[in-house]
């Protein structure tokens, strides 16, 4: 067991965790932040993407203890004061989600990509989404939403 101190969505949490606890389980089971999902267990699908110190990472491929001292942003921390983040709003506007299971990881990936590329073209967006599966939408509306958000951000 280790004691870790992590800032999640601006709030400091100190917790006792088994060393083998995956970050995604810490978020979901210990902090009850269930917006971050598990879709593949082997780091392909991206449903578990959160931001670690401002960068998108797969929280199923990291132990919670490794994040000790770090700052984490999850989907729950993205919208402020009940108002959707521009990427979230664009996903709704362009019907970029159906079942919504990939959506938190997809949005966290999109926010990260827009932080690195202010005006991505379609080809770049497609490339940047190579680690995120969506089985419902066929991706087109997701790409449209990210493009629209890049103009709004």
């Amino acid at each position: 067991m280790s004691t870790i101190s992590v800032e999640v969505n601006g709030e400091r949490h100190t917790a006792e965790v088994e060393d083998r606890t995956l970050l995604v389980h810490f978020l979901r089971d210990h902090l009850r932040l269930t917006g971050t999902h598990i879709g593949c267990d082997t780091s392909q699908c991206g449903a578990c993407v959160v931001h670690l110190n401002g960068k998108a990472v797969k929280s199923c491929t990291m132990f919670a203890v490794q994040a000790d001292g770090d700052s984490i942003l999850t989907i729950e921390g993205l919208s402020r004061d009940g108002k959707l983040h521009p990427v979230q709003a664009a996903f709704q506007e362009h019907h970029g989600l159906q079942c919504g299971f990939c959506t938190p990881g997809m949005i966290m990936t999109a926010v990260d990509l827009l932080a690195r590329h202010a005006q991505p073209d379609e080809a770049l967006i497609r490339r940047e989404l190579e680690g995120n599966f969506c089985r419902c939408t066929g991706y087109l509306n997701i790409i449209k939403a990210i493009q629209a958000a890049s103009r709004a951000v």
Partner: protein, 271 residues
């Protein structure tokens, strides 16, 4: 998909890391963990101690030193891909780093972790070999040609930690990869580099371990054109056959990727 128990240790220095390793029973080092952690979740790896060396500051740097580009073993793929220093010195290396995994994986995965793991289809080993790099550890320097010894095997001894890789700047170079559509692993990838002392061609994702393709090197040494390789036979005997490609198809792709790499290299701005 839940890992077995282990004890997590986070040393502050290389020295401390080595000591922890020596006093542990069955330790593994972890840096980015992008290969090790999935393996642990499937219980294909179950170390008793996990020594996290990702926070050791001395391992993270990118430094141009004459005709060498030294990159700290803890440097993340994303940082290599985005580095102006790397782009200026060896653009093919920046390209390669940007092709590993996906953006989230590149934010975690490290150079040292990749080459120490030596997955038969990993990208970095091809660059290390083709760029005639020297791998520095906490104990010694190891030339690239002696570093990769087999499938998931390297010259590293128990407890040894890669600290940096010094890549030799080529006149020009290119990396071409045929990625597996889902995992993005190379199947195969070919790194071609033209150095003052000759051509080096390294192939990953084809056999059980990255290797230098001597038949391609000698042909290209004669005449550095993609067409030169038309008549070269890439032998498939040692190649992997799996769900996605037979050994013969891999052999075919090695040649095609080598040709495309040469084409790209000849048209590059360093040409």
């Amino acid at each position: 998909m839940y890992p077995a128990s282990f004890r997590y240790l986070r040393p502050a220095t290389l020295g401390e890391a080595g000591q922890l390793f020596n006093s542990a029973s069955d330790a593994r080092y972890v840096a980015g963990g992008q290969s090790l952690i999935p393996a642990m979740k499937q219980r294909l790896a179950s170390p008793s101690e996990l020594i996290d060396i990702s926070r050791i500051p001395a391992l993270s740097f990118i430094r141009r030193d004459g005709d060498l580009l030294a990159i700290g073993a803890g440097t993340r793929h994303a940082d290599v891909a985005a580095s102006a220093e790397v782009e200026g010195a060896i653009p093919a290396l920046a390209t390669l780093a940007g092709l590993i995994g996906d953006p989230a994986v590149r934010h975690r995965g490290t150079l040292g972790g990749s080459i120490a793991n030596n997955d038969p289809a990993a990208d970095y080993p091809a660059a290390v070999l083709a760029l005639d790099a020297v791998v520095t550890t906490n104990r010694r320097n190891i030339p690239a040609d002696l570093f990769f010894t087999g499938m998931f095997e390297t010259a590293l001894e128990p407890g040894e930690i890669v600290t940096q890789v010094a890549f030799r700047l080529p006149r020009r170079a290119a990396y071409m990869k045929f990625p597996n559509p889902a995992s993005r692993y190379a199947m195969p990838g070919v790194f071609v580099a033209e150095h003052a002392h000759g051509i080096r061609v390294a192939v990953t994702g084809a056999a059980s371990c990255v290797y230098r393709a001597s038949e391609l090197e000698s042909a290209l040494a004669e005449r550095l054109m993609p067409e030169t390789l038309d008549t070269v036979t890439v032998a498939a005997e040692e190649f992997t056959s799996d769900l996605f490609a037979s050994a013969e198809y891999r052999a075919h792709l090695v040649k095609v990727m080598a040709q495309r790499a040469v084409t790209s290299m000849l048209s590059s701005r360093h040409g």
